[in-house]
């Protein structure tokens, strides 16, 4: 591997996942990953696979299976220690657990969101190193889609099906709503390729709302608005954290760095168009549209 490539991988690694340890008490250490850290909170996926004897001892199994309800009661609002597997912050950090969700079909992984506690200036600085940059947010020109209103006009002409959902943030809702959106597009005879792409875009948008839209204040909910008929689909997802991110590089289609490649790159590649509206620290709405290529709506894309 060339040195350049090796360096690229190191940069990319920091943007993807960070390995983490969670100390339940002095005798049990769980491992997992986090992709989502803010100056005050983080969310993580923690594996319980190696902790069955401990969970059994603590009475957290039911019929020899992991009981999420019991784990929730055991950990909710508790303060535990976590540590990162790198040299940025060497000391374990207190975190108060605010949310626990099941995250896997296999039943061995849980999603935990929590708030940092008792952090001193040195640790706060270290946490900042993990957080996405917010530079330049005030002087960016907002991207406004023209294709979304055009497609909306076409859909509204022909008996649009409008659906609105308001649900608590959870991984199971991400999967449920993603699959529901895919099934809707099948019902309206979108091509198999369109269905695949719409499912993937919805997956990424809803997952972003779940991962980055969870807030310790205000509404811990996601709003989903769908407008669909055989012409196309418009999906609008709103969360109530209002985390800033810069969507400009994706829209201007300039070459993205490896660090920037992720769900947004897929949304850009597979949707007809998308747009973000952010009210800083209040709410974020991401809207995407895709016309039914089986009908081919070239006029929509003009």
């Amino acid at each position: 591997m060339s040195e350049h490539l090796h360096k690229s991988r190191l940069v990319h690694r920091s943007s993807y996942c960070r390995k983490i340890k969670l100390f339940l008490d002095s005798e049990e250490i769980l491992t997992g990953i986090t992709k989502d850290i803010s100056p005050h909170s983080l969310s993580m996926f923690i594996s319980l696979k190696g902790a069955i004897p401990y969970l059994e001892k603590k009475g957290l199994l039911k019929d020899n299976k992991i009981s999420l309800n019991k784990i929730k009661k055991f950990l909710q609002n508790e303060t535990v220690l976590i540590s990162f597997e790198d040299d940025n912050i060497k000391e374990p950090i207190d975190i108060r657990i605010l949310r626990i969700e099941s995250s896997w079909k296999k039943g061995y992984e849980i999603f935990i969101a929590g708030q940092f506690e008792n952090i001193d200036e040195f640790i706060a600085k270290g946490i900042e190193n993990y957080c996405p940059e917010e530079k330049g947010k005030s002087d960016k020109k907002k991207y406004i889609s023209t294709k979304i209103p055009n497609l909306k006009e076409f859909i509204e002409e022909d008996h649009p099906n409008k659906l609105n959902f308001d649900f608590n943030n959870s991984y199971s809702h991400v999967i449920l709503m993603r699959d529901f959106i895919a099934s809707l597009t099948e019902k309206y005879n979108f091509s198999a390729e369109d269905v695949y792409f719409i499912k993937l875009i919805a997956d990424e948008v809803l997952m972003n709302a779940f991962l980055y839209g969870s807030t310790t204040e205000g509404r811990d909910k996601t709003l989903l608005n769908i407008m669909i008929n055989s012409q196309g689909i418009i999906v609008e997802v709103t969360d109530f954290a209002g985390v800033y991110f810069d969507d400009t590089p994706y829209h201007v289609r300039k070459e993205l760095s490896l660090k920037q490649l992720g769900g947004l790159a897929l949304i850009e590649a597979y949707s007809d168009d998308w747009q973000v509206d952010i009210e800083n620290k209040v709410q974020t709405t991401l809207t995407f549209c895709k016309s039914n290529t089986a009908l081919n709506s070239d006029k929509i894309n003009q």
């Binding site: 591997m1 990319h12 992984e109 997956d203 997952m207 490896l258 490649l261 790159a265 897929l266 590649a269």
Partner: protein, 98 residues
Amino acid sequence: MKHLISNEESDFVKVECSGALENSMDLNFIEVYLSENKSVNLIMTEITYINSCGFGALVEETMNFSDANLKVMVSGMNSQVRKTMEILGGEVLLNFLD
């Protein structure tokens, strides 16, 4: 995601994967080969879906193996899965066999 070990040699294991690669821990099962000092070829002909979380897991495992001078190779993806991987930087971050 399901997996089936199709061929296990002294320093190289072929694993046939099927279903969806969509979860951050879908590939945890290959870590056993890291501890056994074996490289892995993931045959993904039957993988029908991948998202950025699944891709992230694949990148993470590729790097973990690379740190130990081992390889995770991927092959046989259908066109949609392959395209998705390419958009996410797979040409640079993963080891494609085909």
